[in-house]
């Protein structure tokens, strides 16, 4: 069946359609526009937050003043925990503390990353760093547990070197030797001198 309609009838149809659906169409268009602006605003806000955090982190890397750096770190941890810079700042704080021999503060900063960090990959690195600090605090068993909790084979060399260090302090020299040897074999980055030094220092064993 074919319908023929005059132009007036067609115009009538359009008008009828518009009466029925017009308000929905307008609502949809407005919603789309609001959504678009909202999205733009959200994006911009994200960039601004990240840039602010990145700036704080840059400041932290440059300052040598302890009060100033403590303030920057806690600010980043409190207000910018969603950005990666809070974690990086904590790692930097741990570095400074550990190099000055303040193991307590270093462990605290590293634990912040373990508890609040958003990046599982950064946490793996942090785990090994924390183990290194714990070892210096004579908490060998806890350190060993942390090392073993990292299952990725990419960290094999670093893990084995740490295990070697732990075994040495427990006077398990054969295990230490084995671990150092594995650390050297798994090291893809080169620069084995130090591990070799530690291994050699244990002698050949029985």
């Amino acid at each position: 069946m074919i319908e023929y309609k005059s132009d007036e009838e067609k115009a009538e149809d359009v008008k009828a359609w518009w009466r029925e659906y017009g308000s929905s169409v307008i609502a949809a268009i407005i919603l789309a526009i609001v959504g678009l602006f909202g999205w733009e605003y959200w994006q911009k806000h994200q960039v601004q937050t990240t840039e602010a955090a990145a700036l704080e982190y840059q400041k932290l890397l440059k300052t040598t003043d302890k009060t100033q750096s403590d303030k920057l770190v806690s600010e980043l941890q409190a207000s910018y925990a969603k950005t990666p810079y809070a974690a990086l700042a904590s790692l930097e704080a741990a570095k400074v503390a550990a190099e000055q021999g303040d193991l307590e503060a270093a462990a605290k900063a590293l634990r912040w990353v373990m508890d609040n960090g958003k990046d599982p990959d950064l946490k793996l690195v942090t785990t090994l760093r924390l183990a290194r600090v714990l070892l210096d605090q004579n908490k060998q068993d806890e350190a060993l547990k942390l090392v073993d909790s990292v299952s990725s084979t990419a960290y094999e060399s670093l893990k084995q070197e740490l295990k070697g260090d732990i075994f040495v302090t427990k006077n398990q020299l054969n295990e230490a030797r084995e671990a150092y040897k594995k650390a050297i074999a798994a090291n893809q980055a080169g620069g084995n001198e130090l591990i070799q030094l530690k291994l050699d220092n244990l002698g050949q064993g029985a």
Binding site: W17, Q58, L88, L91, K118, L124, L158, A189, L194, D200
Partner: protein
Amino acid sequence: MLQNLHDNIKGWASYVIVGMLIVPFALWGINSYFDGGKAIPAATVNGEEISSMQAQNRLAQIRQQFGPMAANMDPTTLKNMALDGVITQELMRQKVKEQGYRATPQQVFDVIAGMEAFQKDGKFDRAQYESILNANRRSSLEFEQGILDDLTNSQFQKGIAETAFITKAQATQYQALQNQKRDVSSFTVKAADFEAQIQVTDQQINEYYEKNKSSYMTEERIKVSYLTLKQDDYAKQVQVDEAGLQAYYEQNNDKYITPESRQTSHVLVAVTEPSKDAEAKAKADALYADILANKKTFEQAVAESDDKDTAAKGGALGEVVVGDWDPNFEKAVFALELNKVSEPIKTQRGYELALVTAIKPAEQKSFADVKAQVETDFRNTEAEKIFQEKLQSVQNIAYEQSGDLAPAAKAAGLTIQESDWFTQNAGTGIAENPKVRQAAFSEDVLKSGKNSALIPVTDTEGVVVRLASQEAPAQKPLADVKEMIVASLKAEEARKQAEAKGKELLEKVKAGGWAALEAAGIPTTAVQKSGLIGRSDSALNPELVQKAFSMGRPAKDQFTWDSLILPTGDYVLLSVAAVQDGTDEADANIAKGYSANLGNREALAAIEALREQAKIERHPDSF
């Protein structure tokens, strides 16, 4: 189809369908309907494609880094390196995006300001920056975005590497290890001492020769026929007449000028080490201020100059001409008015004050005076044109008619010459040039018998070669190599005997200390007592030092014993009598080195972990 649509679908349904059609066209355009399949990407990483173009660019970079070595490397290895590189980059990019890293505009500016190309007098210059970008047809927006991306993408890796640390206690411990000293003694059983008594029979020699025949071959030799084009040859043929020379002189008269020279004196405040730069600058500034204020004359300042040679002559340097001096100094001198003292100028030697005492202006040399020079220049210029033309035609003809050298020779009016015998590694005459040997031994010339490409021996000389005769590697007769074989056999046997003797002695000293050597007829004075030595001590062979430092720690008043066979076959007995750990305070720089090494390893491990988790498809054949 559209008619059917119009006929059958009415009302709101038609709007919906048209609306749905609009979406794909708007997003992908009509192009994708005509493109057919897309090019295969070099790799996909977690569903994101890396174009073959990116991989290709990376490959080109790698080739450039390896330089000439790249030609000898397995192409598959290189491709895989390139692929690994771009995949790593993509992994880092994805990580950084997921975590929301972002470099700051300040960092971008710091990087740009640090680039030497954009600096003027050691400082960032905006005008220069913009003009260089313009010249390369790049907008500053695009350039800065590129740097922002690069900086951002490296932040995950850098964040790990830069925050790595070793604790203070570990630094001290490593330092103690590094500075450890050991009390080492050694005795060497020399392999050479056994050689004299060793007899080698003809039968042994024959057997050895038969077994190692393949290592006693002559090298492959070839002769080539070749064409040489020399620019100098054409210089002699250039037609010269007086009018032509005169015209050349007129056109190039700026070449025939005695340049301006300035009689100059100076005062030098030397900078002996970079840390004293500020001190020197202050002194130079003070001298300058004193001269300006008429508190000192230039001559008095000269008395304080660090350039003692010229100070004796009132600071006189002689005539300064463009091109002979430190560029900063030159620039200042030529900007100076007569008899005025310059501000302190930073030069390679330190800070200098300059004084111009006379100016001899630039002077045009007359045609008559420089006629000989003009003629040489004219000939060279003309010869270069002819040379380039001939080079072009020889190159083309030798390539087009690659089975024969004669057409190329004829076209350039050259005669074909023949070389002497040469090998891949050595030759005389034309084959002295390694580029020529490389071309002669290339696949095309040696195997396919074609003309070589044009070899640019120098800027003014080109050569084309083709194979004339070839001599395959041949077996060297026994007589030629007998001496070498005897030496090898003797060394081998001496090595065995030294080892046997050494092992026997090792058992003895382990039981009875170094004194036990006496019983074997060796005086204890033959034992080398090195005393307490460090890891980098040069008193002993480095291999022995390394071995000594990997031996067990002896108990008090005891020795640990070990042995080592050196590449010479010498058998060395080693003892360690005491180990002394270093006691120095940890050195900050050394600790930094350890941290940097650790950071490097941690960052690499983290990237490796990303690779492990990622879904990666590689298509090495796509580029």
